[in-house]
């Protein structure tokens, strides 16, 4: 299965498509700004952005509730939503390019399974850690464990599938399935010894949420995600080349192995950090790149940037639904993205089937 491509090749996308892609970038930028403003303005409480701004401009003190809700709850949540959404969507693009498989998602390089195992270990075994470590990590223990777990499994997979300096993506795919099964088994053992409350924590972690957003979490994840997403932007040429096969890419003068290394590191960084702070949020990494490919074609030059913008907007939108639909309670965002994402995904598959005969 190869990426959908124009007959005239990937690097020389038709001029009108490039123009469309540029317009799409602009539109997505505006969309992100609008969703961000709406996201800070709405919520379960009646704290109001406009009232707070009016107070600020008039030199009055902002009410305590407005200050806490806007500054300590909605803004860190906005920051985390943008980061996580961009990280998941860009990771999806990179994975689909690298594996030349439109169904690939970051789960394939083992990040999700490893991060899940890390989080489960922290939830169930965390209390056995020495008090000094617990005092240092505080509430961040699960996030740190998830991040380390994600990285450990990526490194392991990379080692397994790299022979004589060449990484085989096919081996990586298969080893990823094996590692996922192993993580699942170890998680199963941990789940067996978990108590009732830990089981509920696990369930909620798996459904993903931005509810635990704090400035500390957003600030810890930000550098890793920003660097990874930025680095990924430079992979466009390599991913375009590799879409035609690694041999072709090599003959085009693309440093295939180095690009693979960078791609894997970027995905591990972006997804690892995103999963660590928000738990399991699915479908953004698959749906966003596909929607954009439908609109602007498979050229990675714009796709990488546009995916970051659309991923961020979509996650903010899903988060608004999760915050408002059962207010004052909250629906885990992973449920919202799955409910919205799965039908879209199915629609894309059926459409592809009709037009391209998969």
């Amino acid at each position: 299965m190869t990426l959908a491509m124009d007959h005239d090749g990937l690097n020389v996308a038709p001029r009108d498509r490039r123009v469309t892609a540029r317009r799409v970038t602009l539109a997505l930028f505006v969309l992100l700004i609008v969703t961000s403003v709406v996201s800070v303005s709405v919520g379960a409480s009646n704290a109001s952005l406009s009232a707070a701004l009016a107070d600020l401009i008039a030199g009055r003190d902002i009410s305590d509730l407005d200050r806490i809700v806007l500054w300590d709850i909605r803004l860190p949540r906005l920051a985390m939503g943008v980061l996580v959404g961009a990280a998941l969507a860009v990771s999806g693009v990179v994975m689909q390019g690298l594996f030349r498989n439109p169904l690939a998602d970051p789960g394939i390089v083992g990040v999700s399974a490893g991060a899940g195992l890390g989080a489960i270990s922290a939830i169930i075994l965390g209390s056995y850690l020495p008090a000094s470590i617990l005092a240092w990590t505080g509430n961040g223990l699960i996030a740190i464990a998830a991040f380390l777990g994600g990285w450990a499994s990526v490194l392991l997979l990379y080692r397994v599938s790299t022979r004589r300096g060449q990484t085989s993506v096919a081996t990586m795919l298969l080893a990823g399935i094996a590692l996922g099964a192993l993580s699942g088994a170890v998680s199963g053992v941990l789940v067996y010894i978990a108590d009732d409350q830990q089981l509920r924590d696990l369930t909620f972690w798996g459904m993903g949420s931005l509810a635990g957003a704090t400035w500390t979490k957003a600030a810890s994840a930000a550098p890793i995600i920003l660097i990874s997403v930025l680095v990924a932007q430079f992979l466009a040429r390599a991913l375009n080349g590799m879409a035609m096969g690694e041999a072709v890419a090599h003959h085009m003068g693309i440093p295939v192995q180095r690009s693979k290394n960078i791609a894997i590191l970027a995905v591990a960084g972006a997804t690892g950090a995103a999963v660590a702070v928000s738990g399991g949020i699915g479908f953004i990494g698959i749906v966003v790149p596909h929607l954009l490919r439908l609109a602007t074609g498979p050229d990675h030059h714009r796709l990488l940037l546009n995916s970051a913008l659309l991923g961020a907007s979509l996650l903010l939108g899903a988060d608004m639904i999760s915050r408002l639909i059962v207010a004052p309670a909250e629906l885990p965002i992973g449920i919202v993205t799955a409910i919205l994402g799965a039908p879209v995904f199915l629609w894309i598959l059926l459409r592809r089937h009709g037009t391209m005969g998969m």
Binding site: I68, I73, N139, F204, S209, G212, R323, P328, A329
Partner: protein
């Protein structure tokens, strides 16, 4: 009190009655907008006659039924800080383990008093819980009275149950769920274990700890005289006939005689003001069964 100036929203309108008269001394006044988190905490607030001060509850608080009219702020371990703040509480009384910790921190930062009530599935645990809720609400005297009375009622129910069980205790197996033939039983260190022992029974699954899946063979070897299950309102996941048709139960005394007790979950396992009644009810059921 800038917050009082905005009376446009629903909640502020609701709040106006309270804040309107007490706005000047709101900080010193008793908390009057309370969210109760955890079914036993909510029941204690009602038992203390303080329900008029409640403005919110969690998903697990469903008794007494009028509490359902209050806004539900979600599952106690997955609270949304803004959702909780939106009902403008000045005090949150939560059962131990409510969270997540980040949400609790934001709530404390927002100036909402947060009291965590520790949980212990014993007679003394219930008594302490009532005292702690009473202290949080500033009604220590009424709480002390309720605590002593509840403690005495639990003692009474327990000693009646123990007397009745003198000529042989029933072996009780608590089954949390039995879907797809995967049977989750209540072992030692669970609410189920405590209530079974308080009611004069023996926990047939006492050899495992916590709620654990048990194989059909292991269940057969525990030889329960009776199965105890939660009665989920309007949601009979497993019918009695289906349950006893499972191989795990067919060979047990409970299965042969089709002995099943169903009791409402929060009542049976809540360890709150109604626990003495739950002990008496369960014990009566056990007696009826061993008599038959």
């Amino acid at each position: 009190m800038n917050t009082v100036t905005r009376v446009t929203s629903t909640f502020a309108v609701l709040a106006a009655g309270v804040f309107g008269t007490q706005a000047m001394s709101a900080d010193e006044a008793e908390p009057n907008r309370i969210i109760a988190i955890g079914s036993s905490v909510t029941e204690i607030v009602y038992a203390l006659g303080q329900q008029d001060r409640l403005v919110g509850r969690d998903q697990t608080s469903t008794y007494p039924t009028e509490v359902l009219e209050l806004p539900d702020v979600g599952y106690m371990r997955a609270l949304s800080p803004e959702g909780v703040l939106s009902v403008r509480p000045d005090l949150i009384v939560a059962l131990e383990g409510a969270g997540p910790p980040e949400a609790v921190e934001v709530l404390k930062e927002a100036g909402v008093e947060y009291v965590s009530i520790s949980e212990n599935y014993t007679r003394d645990g219930v008594v302490e819980k009532i005292r702690a809720v009473g202290t949080a609400l500033g009604v220590e005297e009424a709480a002390e009275e309720l605590a002593v009375q509840t403690g005495a009622r639990i003692d009474g129910a327990h000693s009646n149950a123990a007397d009745a069980a003198l000529n042989g205790s029933a072996r009780v197996l608590f089954v949390l769920s039995a879907q797809d033939n995967r049977i989750l039983v209540g072992g030692a260190d669970t609410q189920a274990d405590s209530i079974i022992r308080l009611a004069g029974g023996v926990n047939a699954a006492g050899s495992v700890s916590g709620f654990k899946p048990m194989t059909p063979e292991a269940i057969a070897s525990t030889a329960p005289d009776v199965i105890l299950m939660m009665d989920r309102r309007g949601n009979h996941i497993t019918g009695n006939e289906e349950l006893f048709a499972l191989p795990a139960f067919q060979l047990t005394p409970a299965g042969r005689n089709k002995r099943l007790i169903r009791m409402q979950g929060a009542y049976l396992l809540g360890f709150g003001p109604r626990t003495a009644d739950a002990i008496a009810d369960l014990s009566a059921e056990l007696q009826r069964i061993s008599g038959s």
